[in-house]
């Protein structure tokens, strides 16, 4: 169990070597997912269903990019070069969820990522607010303050789309794969990254507890939208009606194995068109 009273780590150098590699992987995974999710929001700056939604996408993109920049900068302390991380990696070196490999085709796809994946990232962040790795404390609080409005935006749009029968059908189709993918994102119950970080007191919960927290947050909204993916047990806790399997799961990259960012996404996220300026 978590060594609650174990000494805190003030810098990356204080973290024992094996744990340091895990912590680094966690920070990079959060940074990559936030950077890419920010890009997905930004793709809807023009063309969102209303002007307000476009403005919201712009604000959420800025938030996500800010969060990812904080995280990439923290990795400097772990011996990484943030510039290299941000601009010079290959697709299979990104630790992103498979949900971000390519753009969602439609607005419904974006708001599903907004509700489910953004919430999964926030749940993971929350688990670090009293982390033994102390540099995270203040930063986690700032991130979560902003994320509150991403959640409102996601749930508001899900409710709006679910108002009609046709909307619910589109929603169910877009939401089901994302639902399963987000549940898997926290990892197998034992032995993987998040479980090890929880055991070491870097995160305050392991994969199953994080899944339960995520379900309590998004379950009521999905249920209210008329989808059968979430149900409440007698104790009031929300659970998924879909059994998870771990076929093709790659625990080290926290995603389904094999795939990676498509070439357009990679070029955009690395800023390939701005290479001339990076040489300065």
């Amino acid at each position: 169990m978590s060594p609650i009273n174990a000494a805190g780590f003030r810098t990356a150098d204080d973290v024992p070597e094996e744990l340091r590699a895990d912590l680094k992987a966690l920070l990079l995974s959060l940074a990559d997912n936030k950077r890419l999710l920010g890009m997905r929001y930004a793709e809807w700056l023009l063309g969102a269903p209303t002007l307000e939604a476009g403005i919201a996408c712009s604000a959420m993109a800025q938030d996500e990019w800010g969060h990812s920049r904080i995280l990439y900068a923290m990795l400097k302390n772990f011996g990484e070069d943030p510039g290299q991380l941000e601009h010079q990696r290959e697709a299979d070196q990104y630790l992103n969820s498979e949900l971000l490999d390519e753009p969602p085709g439609e607005w419904t796809g974006l708001v599903v990522l907004n509700l489910l994946l953004d919430a999964a990232l926030s749940i993971q962040f929350e688990s670090l607010k009293d982390s033994r790795f102390e540099p995270l404390h203040y930063k986690v609080r700032k991130v979560l303050e902003e994320e509150r409005f991403h959640f409102e935006h996601g749930r508001g749009w899900i409710a709006r789309i679910a108002q009609t029968f046709a909307g619910r059908e589109v929603l169910e189709e877009a939401l089901t794969p994302v639902w399963i993918s987000c549940l898997r994102w926290f990892g197998v119950p034992d032995g993987e990254l998040i479980a090890r970080l929880a055991d070491a007191g870097v995160a305050d919960a392991g994969p199953d507890e994080l899944r339960a927290r995520w379900l309590d947050r998004v379950g009521p909204i999905v249920h209210q939208a008329g989808l059968g993916l979430a149900e409440q047990d007698e104790g009031g806790a929300w659970r998924s009606t879909v059994e998870l399997d771990w076929l093709d799961w790659d625990g080290s990259r926290r995603r389904s194995g094999g795939g990676s960012l498509d070439s357009e996404t990679l070029a955009a996220v690395r800023g390939d068109k701005n290479r001339a300026m990076l040489m300065d």
Binding site: P49, H153, G156
Partner: protein, 78 residues
């Protein structure tokens, strides 16, 4: 502002410090309170607000005038 069917106007009030009075700072169009909150916070982000609240325009009652609350110009009132 773009208006979709099923949308309502929400009036936004905010104050920068607890000792300030809430001021009417603007309006957003949204289909439900969750989106009204998100839009209000993300659109009117020019200040670091101590408090921001929203209410549907329909919730306001005119007291001394016959026209709808928040009517801006005489032309609009007619």
């Amino acid at each position: 502002m773009g208006h979709l069917s099923g949308e309502h106007l929400y009036e936004i009030f905010a104050r920068q410090k607890r000792e300030d009075r809430l001021e009417h700072i603007g309006t957003v169009s949204a289909p439900n309170p969750a989106l009204a909150r998100a839009y209000a916070w993300q659109t009117y982000d020019e200040q670091k607000w101590f408090e921001m609240i929203v209410a549907p325009r329909e919730a306001f009652e005119a007291v001394n005038r016959d026209e709808q609350p928040f009517t801006l110009s005489p032309a609009e009132a007619r």
